[in-house]
Amino acid sequence: MTDDNAIELQSATMDFPILRTGPAFLKELLTGRFKSRDSEPTSFRALDGINMQVPKGEVLGIVGPNGAGKSTMLRVIAGIYAPDEGIVRTKGRIALLAGLGAGFQRDLTGRENIFLSGSVYGFNENELYDLVPSIVVFSGIGSFIDKPIRTYSSGMRARLAFSLASHLNPEILLIDEVLAVGDSDFRQKSKDRIQEMVKGDATVVIVSHNEPTLREMCDRAICLHNGQIDICSTDIDAVIDRYHILSKKSIN
């Protein structure tokens, strides 16, 4: 265990309950039999004893077939899910770029949402006052900033969310597929901004299916398969090749 790791996962395991609803759940409750007799599993193992260290400043790519546990892994690192077994340690402010703008309040204005989301990420009021102009300018939504979010188009909402996220200046940046949002102009701008963040001091974990991006940005890559690390290498091409083989297998 070295001191310059930003992220450490020690045999992190995550089980997701397979929700029983309606009659099946009622039956379970009444009979007190929570483990069903038939071999039907009651939970789904999304992460299976993951051991991983990410040194400070590294850009780590994660690939893997659908359902391999990529998004779960990011959420575990972000602290949103606590592992059922094992320990997750992180250093510094974390921002997860996924499902941008989902946490916005429809009835509050863009500005109010910046303050709300900003304080969720641990910024104080004064810091946010300083940040707001820059966030507004980058998002390019102009006077809409003082209108309620429900009046925004989905593109505008995504732009504001991205702009906010990119100003959080996190020590650990987790990116889930969102490499570009908005119209073509903003797409380029957001791509550049991510490049900038990735090249900075932040430790970055990217989940993506975009292979050129991964090749270009990552120092190291991991291929997840059934909740386990199948391969981890600094040779990005080797990881991507392995990913192709696994995806083909899972289709067949």
Binding site: I80, Y81, A82, A102, Q105, Y121
Partner: protein, 279 residues
């Protein structure tokens, strides 16, 4: 610089049971700025697009009281001009309890989008609802004071019962809400059940009758319900007299609030990390 940097976040499965109420409080204090933002948000969202805004927290109980006044005083010919005040206090306090309980129960489910975006102690969502309702209750007391002046009711030492009752009823609703929120995440029927219970509670907690109106043999039973006691406390404060209510009953109700809150925070701190998986 130099030296070993501390881990800023270590995520493990479990929180020790006994320290959970303390931890819940320290999390809330650490996140007080966030708490304030959420309370502000609740205010804005509740009164969003309203012409009269915050005035509604006074106007609504006033209108309800007018309706009850119409039914009880005018139609039934009851001569007691203080009855509307009594009913109004009942409605205000019961509403605060019911909205806290109900709001806390569904808080996690309603904020699932934000919960899956970033981690911060989730008790902030519930505490903000309790805080918002407490604040709203305090705001609406303006009308109680106006009524007291109009009815020439003197201000007495009994007014000290008012804040005690407000805090007691808030913690009761918050504690129940903490408990129910964990159930609600797993079985969404909980929200419906809570609503039904609250609707029954509305008729059982002496909202539009007070202890004087019930047969003496049922008084003790009635006052074993902490919500009824809190409402009676507020009435005693306004009327400046405490005839039937005893200090034992007040003490018992406060103890119930405390115990419910402790149990609620234990359940919440223990299961909250698991509950998020069901969202």
């Amino acid at each position: 610089m130099g030296g070993v940097e501390e881990w800023s976040a270590v995520t493990e499965g479990k929180v020790p049971l006994l320290s959970s109420p303390k931890r819940l409080f320290s999390n809330l204090i650490k996140n007080r700025q966030l708490l304030r933002h959420f309370i502000k948000r609740d205010f804005k969202v509740t009164y969003h697009g309203h012409l009269l805004g915050y005035i509604w927290s006074v106007l609504e109980p006033l209108a309800l009281t007018a309706i009850f006044f119409l039914v009880f005083v005018i139609l039934r010919g009851s001569a007691d001009s203080l009855l509307p005040l009594s009913i109004m206090i009942g409605i205000l306090f019961f509403n605060a309890f019911s909205r806290t309980f109900n709001g806390c129960t569904t808080a996690l489910a309603r904020n699932s989008a934000l919960i899956q975006q970033v981690y911060f102690p989730r008790e902030v969502f519930l505490a903000s609802i309790a805080g918002f309702q407490l604040f709203r209750l305090a705001l609406s007391l303006v009308i109680v004071f106006i009524y007291m002046i109009w009815a020439k009711l003197p201000a007495t030492y009994y007014l000290i019962l008012l804040p005690i009752s407000m805090v007691g009823i808030t913690f009761l609703g918050f504690g129940f809400g903490l408990l129910a929120s964990m159930l609600h995440v797993r079985v969404r029927d909980t929200g419906q059940v809570v609503q039904l219970l609250l609707r029954a509670g509305f008729f059982l907690s002496g909202v539009f009758f007070s202890v004087e109106h019930i047969p003496t043999e049922y008084v003790n039973l009635h006052l074993s319900n902490p919500v009824a006691v809190y409402i009676e406390m507020a009435r005693s404060a306004a009327f400046g007299k405490m005839d039937i209510l005893t200090f034992e009953q007040i003490g018992l109700s406060l103890s119930i609030s405390f115990i419910v809150f402790i149990l609620g925070s234990m359940a919440f701190m223990r299961y909250e990390r698991k509950a998020v998986k069901y969202l």
